[in-house]
Amino acid sequence: MRAACGRVDGAGPATYTLGMETTTAPTGRGPVPVLRFLGLVLLGAAIGGVAALAAAGFVRAVLALNALLLISPRSRIMVADPVLLTLATVAVPTLGGLVVGLLHRRLPEGRPHTPADVIAAVQTRRGRLPAREGGVSALTALLSLGAGASVGQYGPLVHLGATLGSLGARLLRLGRSEDNITIACGVAAAISTAFNAPLAGIVFAHEVVLRHYALRAFAPTAAAALVGHVIATQVLAQGALFHVADTAVPRAWEFALFLGIGGLGALLAGAYMHAILAMGRLAGRLPLRPEWRPALAGALLGLTALWVPDILGIGQEALRFATIAGAFGGGELLLVLVLKVAATALCLGLGFSGGVFSPALVIGTLFGALCATLLASLTGGATETFVFYAVCGMVAVTAPVIGAPLTSLLIVFELTGNYALTTAALASVTLASPLAAQLFGRSLFDIQLHRRGLDLSAGRGRALLMERRAADLLSDDCVTLAPESPLQAAIAALARGHHGEAHLVDAAGRYHGCVTLAELEALHQAGGSHTAADGVDAGRPTLSPATTMWEAMTRLQEVSGEALAVVDDDRFLGVVYEARIARAYLEQSDTLRREEQGHG
């Protein structure tokens, strides 16, 4: 018979005092908080600078690799020898895939990290993005993009920026809240640099990564995006993603069509996301070791590209042509669209490293162009507003995929400066984003995280509860009894320990259930020779160390007791008190409140 040991993680009145203190603490006025805040803004700007330079370097390196490896159309046309071109088209993605596959073996999970990992780190306040995984993922993304894989470049840029931001917070030994903010700074700067769109960068960091709005986070993020913008204009000096001359303003009834494109675009976005996920599942069943899979994808991509070269690489040329009426025939649009979806699913599913945004831009624009072409053939109408349809399609597909309707709109606005175009895109996104969220999920990242066991659909509070495990709240302040203890002795032990419950653990450390003082007393009153084991409450659930706090809270709803036992493989580890869970919940709510509503 063992009795209670000292209070390791006591649940008592002290808890409440702590909670009260934090809730009534003044919300930072005075010189010190102001200085701290200004320091954070300066840090944001510094991280913005580093992330922007990294992003600019990344973009340039991809362009250089594309030119060197005969992926970019410009480099391809420079080669007069068709045999060399054919060989390069097949060999470059294949060998690129081989290198990427071998590099991915060095990652613990065997897969590259993506913006989904950034979102998970921020939403669960875990922060601390690993530098090694970040570095390897950026390198393999660079190689994937350089070798012409049909993947996006913005995802890797976002992850790279976030990793640099998190690294900055760690170097300065800052807390989790600051870590989250510096991650957002890196993300904002990366987007701001890559698109040369600072507002989109700020909104993306809030809409996709932070998912709340606090002035405390806004100012450093804005500073980072601004620095990124300045660096983009100085260093990258790249042309706009698309260019729109003063076009005819669409007629009123066309807005109904833009809305319709939004609805259909949401379905296409769903098909695109599910194609990527399905290819990932299929890849797991392939009789091919993971490190060889990207090479297979590269070979298939290269062979297809001999027929339809538009699917190679980021696809900026295909994107541009899709905004020009007459550049593609109707059948060609459909063919390239389907092949681009397939190629992207193949590349990402089989383990190339890269994003989903750039291919979605191409797919969406092709889809919009297809709608416009169909319409023109039906009505025999003009092509003056062709570009409106293309852009609507683009936004309708990209916004649901990355879960960022506002960012998509701002990208259109900042890149074109065209208000009419932005309102048309607004019509599409109004329907596309909510519809896709209802049917598929908030974004591809959310769907991926959900499949990895992190459900963000009910918000950050629940995600945090899902993130904390019973093992974190474990206490050994409890009464344990041997199952064969006589009733009398058991009741005495409980009384000595000032507890109403005891946990039955045998000499081998195996757990046999929980008994309450009331139950033991009742058995004792009933008479007869009983042991403690006879009073076990069969309905009492147990927790495993890996049980999330969210689950523990749901189970506690059915229990009227003071604590639940934590059992791992029949072995008793300790208990989690209901009061401890409540306290952890209050602490978490308080931290979130300060992080999301605080402004200093």
Binding site: R76, I77, G239, V244, E317, R320, F321
Partner: protein
């Protein structure tokens, strides 16, 4: 520093003058040659005593290639576009130029800072930038005037025959620009079969095209009223407008800028005199004198800043040179690296298209 350079040049010149053999310069003829004679050739002969013998060509380098195969060169200095110079340099037809060939600016600025980016090449030194532009007869379009290069292809609003150069260059660029493609992406898109198809289709949409090869032809066609819009070199159009009073106007949007360079062929008979000439002809002073006679943008910043009025006409020449900010807004720089590698294939594609067009026109009466 500059004085010593001049002294050296003079010494060199007198020693070279002893040989009475002329320096054979290959250039483009017409108003351009007249301006070069006044600004460069005559002053060079005056200064050095070396007579200059001018040969004319239309940009065809076949003769250079053939003579190089025989181990000789019919000229000592060639005025050639940078794209041709790059191709010829790669083919080993040109002699590399010494790094210190160009003279510093009058204020001592070293050539590398004074010349525009990309002007100093391995085998060729850019002296001016000229532009291929569209000129039109304003009387042909009463009440409206073309403002964008897309208007070249808009025969509904600007009816009438066009004259275009019989090369893929410039035409392909304009045809794609007419689709509102941004300048930065022009050559990337032209690098795809889709982009080329799109450009040729746009060219094909023109109802009547007169093809020209000689730089004076578009001026003549416009003057004779045979066409209402024509592409051509901005210097030729200027000459026709200012010196001959022809009623035409220039559409600067979409102007394609090219570098015009001096180069020395391998096996040149007088390479030293040729180098002395290039150094002389690319001094700030000579470039200013040239730009005041024919409106080509000097390749030196120091020269562009000094350009004044036409010596006889009194026209402010800064408004007529392609690099002036007012004119340069819609300018594109010809991607000579692209053409250096693709020209034969582009030419074949272009010729095949023209062939199809001709056959089709012949088939439909």
């Amino acid at each position: 520093m500059a004085r010593r350079g001049l002294l050296l040049a003079l010494l060199l010149a007198t020693s070279l003058a002893a040989q009475a053999e002329p320096l054979r310069v290959l250039s483009w003829g017409g108003a351009y040659e007249r301006a070069q004679r006044e600004a460069l050739f005559s002053p060079f002969t005056v200064q050095t005593g070396i007579p200059v013998e001018v040969h004319r060509y239309d940009g065809d380098l076949g003769e250079l290639r053939r003579s190089a195969a025989r181990g000789e060169a019919p000229w000592d200095v060639i005025d050639m576009t940078r794209s041709q110079a790059m191709a010829a340099c790669e083919a080993g037809l040109l002699a590399p130029l010494p790094a210190d060939l160009a003279a510093p600016a009058p204020d001592g600025t070293p050539p590398r800072e004074d010349f525009l980016p990309g002007a100093i090449g391995r085998c060729a030194l850019t002296h001016t930038l000229f532009a291929t532009v569209v000129a039109y007869r304003p009387e042909a379009f009463p009440g409206r005037r073309p403002t964008r290069i897309g208007d070249l292809f808009d025969q509904a609003r600007f009816p009438g025959p066009r004259a275009l150069q019989r090369t893929p260059a410039v035409n392909l660029e304009w045809a794609l620009l007419a689709h509102d493609v941004p300048h930065q992406e022009l050559y990337r898109l032209l690098s795809t079969p889709r982009g080329l198809d799109l450009a040729l289709a746009r060219l094909d949409s023109l109802a009547a095209i007169h093809w020209w090869q000689e730089g004076e032809t578009p001026v003549r066609l416009l003057a004779a009223g045979e066409v209402v819009m024509a592409s051509g070199y901005n210097g030729r159009f200027f000459d026709a407008m200012v010196n001959r009073g022809l009623d035409i106007e220039i559409l600067w949007d979409g102007q394609v800028q090219e570098h015009e360079t001096w180069a020395i062929p391998r096996h040149a008979r007088r390479p030293e005199a040729a180098r002395a000439f290039i150094r002389f002809a690319t001094t700030t002073e000579r470039l200013v004198v040239l730009a005041e006679r024919i409106p080509y943008g000097p390749a030196r910043r120091s020269a562009a800043a000094r350009v004044g009025r036409h010596p006889e006409r009194g026209v402010d020449m800064r408004l007529h040179i392609p690099t002036h900010p007012l004119n340069a807004e819609g300018a594109i720089e010809k991607d000579e690296r692209w053409y250096a590698r693709t020209l034969p294939r582009m030419q074949a594609l272009f010729d095949a298209w023209r062939q199809r067009r001709q056959e089709r026109d012949a088939a439909t009466p």
